[in-house]
Symmetry: C2
Subunit: 416 residues, 2 copies
């Protein structure tokens, strides 16, 4: 499950060969540069192909403004079958009107014809700038080289080709035994800014050779997404392009899983939960400009919904996030954020811990010594802020990052 940095673009075969951990039987993948951003020769187009028909499940952005590829995928996912995923970075193909939809359909047809598969089994994923048409001639010209270079070692290269402002590719794998069969699971993601529950410029592709019914796969994916991508936030913005897509091709040869109560389903479900949470946390750790990952843990609420509302309000507060960047244990801003969440509570009952250092007891400071010690906790790359509301038994956790100078630099410059 270690992450291997891939030098894309140069010596692809050598790099791919070093990434043998990230293979799933029956899945091939490849990348190329289509210069989606003109003059940029980094690999920006990736293809994943299942040699046999695969069960498909997906979760898509809830943003009403949906990119062309998402609009197409939403229609295709109802069939619950997939054979290929074409992904590009550099251009989101969002807010491009009917022209953008027709571009996406053309690309899909190129892939389905080249691979001799039904067009409806090609899924599309795009990320990058909003509002510009895709450079269709360069992309279509790149398709033959994509097809030719398909290989079992290509998945890490796709993780790299999906990156926009990500600083490292995100790919994790897990193997498990289900019955007597070995089952493989690999997840790829891209993240960075615009991440928020209900997702955001976040693409996640999951490949497995598990044999599973479409209904169960869908159910397990929704549960895993709710526990992972719906618990992270970088800036509260959500994107037009987000998707989590799973293809399961059944080549592991296990008895087809179709109810959640079986041992096999429980094993796979746990593995999927782990993989998605690991990818989600990688996205937060690589949040635009982030210098630290912060886990906001709310305890002692009357409902889980209340815990989530409180946690999200703290996790999204610019004042809390800039204080985290400044490594200032500014608990007053945390209390102020809780106070505007809309959840009723008694400020004088609230306790706050930074890791195991209690900084607030009954709504007031534990004193300068505690603040100094909490300040040291803020120097860690990952820390937990635990807030006990003392009015119930529910709790939740969300994952966020700090708001840094680099977040502003990256997003003020993104298009230029």
């Amino acid at each position: 499950m270690t992450l291997v940095r891939v030098e894309a673009g140069k010596n692809i075969k050598g790099a791919a060969a070093r990434n043998k951990g990230f293979q799933v039987p029956g899945f091939l993948a490849s990348v190329t540069s289509a210069e989606v951003k003109k003059g940029n020769s980094r690999s920006d187009l990736g293809l994943i192909f299942s040699e046999v028909p695969a069960v498909a499940a997906g979760v898509f952005t809830r943003n009403q403004v949906k990119a062309a590829p998402v609009q197409i995928d939403l229609k295709r996912i109802v069939q619950q079958e997939g054979r290929a995923v074409l992904v590009n970075s550099g251009n989101a193909n969002a807010c491009t009107g009917s022209g953008g939809l027709s571009d996406a359909r053309k690309l899909s047809r190129q892939i389905s014809q080249a691979l001799s598969i039904p067009d409806s089994q090609v899924f599309l994923a795009s990320t990058g700038v909003i509002g510009q048409r895709l450079p269709m001639s360069r992309m279509i010209k790149a398709v033959p080289s994509l097809i030719q270079s398909l290989s079992p070692y290509g998945l890490p290269l796709v993780a790299e080709a999906m990156m926009t402002t990500d600083t490292f590719p995100k790919i994790v794998s897990k193997e498990m035994n289900i019955g007597k069969q070995k089952v493989h699971l690999v997840g790829l993601a891209k993240g960075a800014g615009m991440m928020h529950p209900n997702m955001a410029t976040m693409l996640c592709l999951v490949l497995t050779d598990l044999a599973v019914s479409p209904a169960l796969l869908d159910r397990l994916l929704r549960k895993a997404t709710d526990q992972s991508f719906h618990r992270i936030t970088v800036d509260g913005d959500t994107s037009t392009n987000d998707l989590v897509l799973v293809l399961a091709n059944g080549l592991a040869g296990n008895a087809v899983l179709d109810t959640p109560q079986t041992t096999g389903a429980r094993i796979f479900s746990r593995a999927l939960d782990q993989i998605l949470l690991k990818l989600a946390r990688m996205i937060v750790q690589d949040g635009e400009g982030a210098t630290k990952e912060v886990i906001i843990r709310i305890e002692g609420t009357r409902t889980e919904e209340e815990a989530r509302t409180l946690a999200m309000t703290v996790a999204l507060s610019p004042l809390v996030k800039t204080a985290l960047f400044g490594e200032d244990a500014n608990w007053g801003r945390i209390l102020a954020a809780l106070g505007r969440s809309g959840v009723p509570f008694h400020p004088e009952h609230v306790d706050i811990h930074f890791n195991n250092i209690q900084i607030v007891k009954n709504g007031v400071s534990k004193g300068p010594k505690a603040e100094t010690r909490a300040g040291l906790v803020l120097k860690k790359p990952t820390l937990t802020i635990r807030i006990d509301m003392h009015q119930g038994t529910f709790k939740t956790k969300v994952y966020t990052c700090d708001l840094s100078l680099d977040y502003v630099r990256i997003n003020a410059d993104y298009r230029t």
Copy 2:
């Protein structure tokens, strides 16, 4: 109605004398340095005193975590009478428990005894760091000098003493005739970060010699606040300390206004609206790190509530705000923010203008020329982004600013 920069601390009398525009008959004011922040000799304590009993109305933070002075003011405002306001910067006296409440009561008693007025007619306003107790001995020691230096010219000095991260004092005045009487109106505010509807580290004090019933004053204040402070946002955070307080001492001698339908009430109401909107916009223009003021105008919605939700989602989006800082006419981020607002609409009907330059028509770009011209609009210190949803007849306006590197610098360093 021009703003005069006051050099507080040195040569107070001279500076005050230059500010003759900001006087209201019967109101005296003064400032001093209590070193609320130890070792800092800037003026940080201000007093306003009405020589005769005045009608009082107030609007206070909706944050559940309320600072000690706000808790006290909320009890006193029900009597609708006030004689004095004591305001300090440097320390918010928030999240300070019962000790903080007792500190605030002690200060109030010092003032009421020195001025021989009922303790219940002293209002308190604090702004600054949360969670630290006030330096009571230094503050109490400063009271006699405050009382001795009360003068009709002191209001601009109080505007200066209230500042925290503000870069300029905010004070405006207006005169009007009601019947045959001249009525004076002066408003002082402090703002900067943590500003949001339902207010935020925002203090606003309004003084007038109007004769008005408490009920009408309260009604007009709520209307003016809704059209001004509830329409501005810097970062979505709201504070524990916000308040807008009006004192009306009746010395103008007009026939007491007590219904909104009279000409006099309409004249005063318009003046109050203008003053509060002007102060609110000054706060946005001086938002922490702000380089520009941006008016988000939403048109063509089915309800005003929808217009407000859409406008606020755009006004608070970190991605939109960093693009504004980068002077990038990134309309895709605006559409994406609208799309996650929760308000249903058709993306393909949306038009977006930057001032008079249309950049989006029917949800897609008007092309590179329009984008270049819109980019020029972004170089202006104030601009309007006008968004037409084309599904109704309601509209609204909110005022926001960009999210800059300095916002992060200021808030990462605030306590250190």
